[in-house]
Amino acid sequence: MSIQTDSNSSYTAPGIDGMVEDWSADKQAFDVPWGKLMMWIFLLSDTFIFSIFLTGYMNVRLSQTDNWPNPSEVFALEIAGHHMPLILIAIMTFVLITSSGTMAMAVNFAYNRDRRRTVILMAATALLGASFVGMQAFEWSKLISEGVRPWENPFGAAQFGSTFFMITGFHGMHVTAGVIYLTVIARRVARGYYEDKGYAIVEITGLYWHFVDLVWVFIFAFFYLW
């Protein structure tokens, strides 16, 4: 399946033996551009941040003695007279997955040096990300108008509001940062800034974007569905 063409042929030994060789031989340990390794290490640290948020949420939800509000009903919407549970969150999930798909294809076109398609797909990704943030702003406004606050809410346990605003707020901030990041890189691709440097930067930007989608998978499962 992999058609990866390595310029450096010393990274060929498979499995554990290969890992030992990568670490012990007189060469860099990781066969990736430094920018990509740094992005991975940043994403690892970000994984810890979101894990700690979700673990904190688990802890307060386990230990509260009030009734936990039913997310299915809290996030329901009336659409054309139909009562749809959790519908906005489902749409947001599909939008974010679609943006991940367009990003993955942008990476492919970038390595093929198809600048036009890369820019179009990155712009589409940024646009989908911006619409996600828009829907989140709508969701926040709706909940705030219903009286949900970080310290109280009309539906039950007060911890619901504090964890909701903290977790989705931090995720929304990541999406917003990603939209800005994508816009900056797409603009540079359009101007031909990376013609000499190579297009690893698009893959690195993609890693960040897929990570934002990945975090949403966990938030969707643990906060909205549980």
Partner: protein, 105 residues
């Protein structure tokens, strides 16, 4: 490093994974839509969540094609999170029981 070709794979695989993620998301939404409750609900949510997360990490983020050296850097530290989750689950249960005993009217 500019000579490194990087991760290149056929477009088709991304489209297939994209479709698969759509289907899995629909399934997890349907779990809520049909009011599946109890252990079945939690099991289904976790299965769909891990499948989606696995596909995103393995294919979209190309981890499936990376060297083992990088995979270990990404996955071994996560065991610390597993320990934290286990400890906080015990702690949360304990706090709940003491609140039930001392604070409930």
């Amino acid at each position: 490093m500019s000579e490194t070709a990087g991760q290149q794979h056929p477009i088709g695989i991304y489209l297939k994974i994209w479709l698969l993620l759509f289907v899995l998301s629909t399934f997890s939404y349907l779990v809520d839509f049909f009011h599946v409750q109890g252990y079945l609900r939690w099991t289904l949510i976790l299965i769909f969540m891990f499948l989606k997360a696995g596909l995103i990490v393995a294919i979209f983020m190309h981890v499936a094609w990376e060297r083992l050296a990088l995979k270990y850097v990404l996955f071994v530290p996560l065991s610390a999170i597993a320990v934290l989750i286990a400890l906080m689950a015990i702690e949360g249960d304990y706090t709940f029981f003491t609140r039930e005993i001392f604070f409930d009217p």
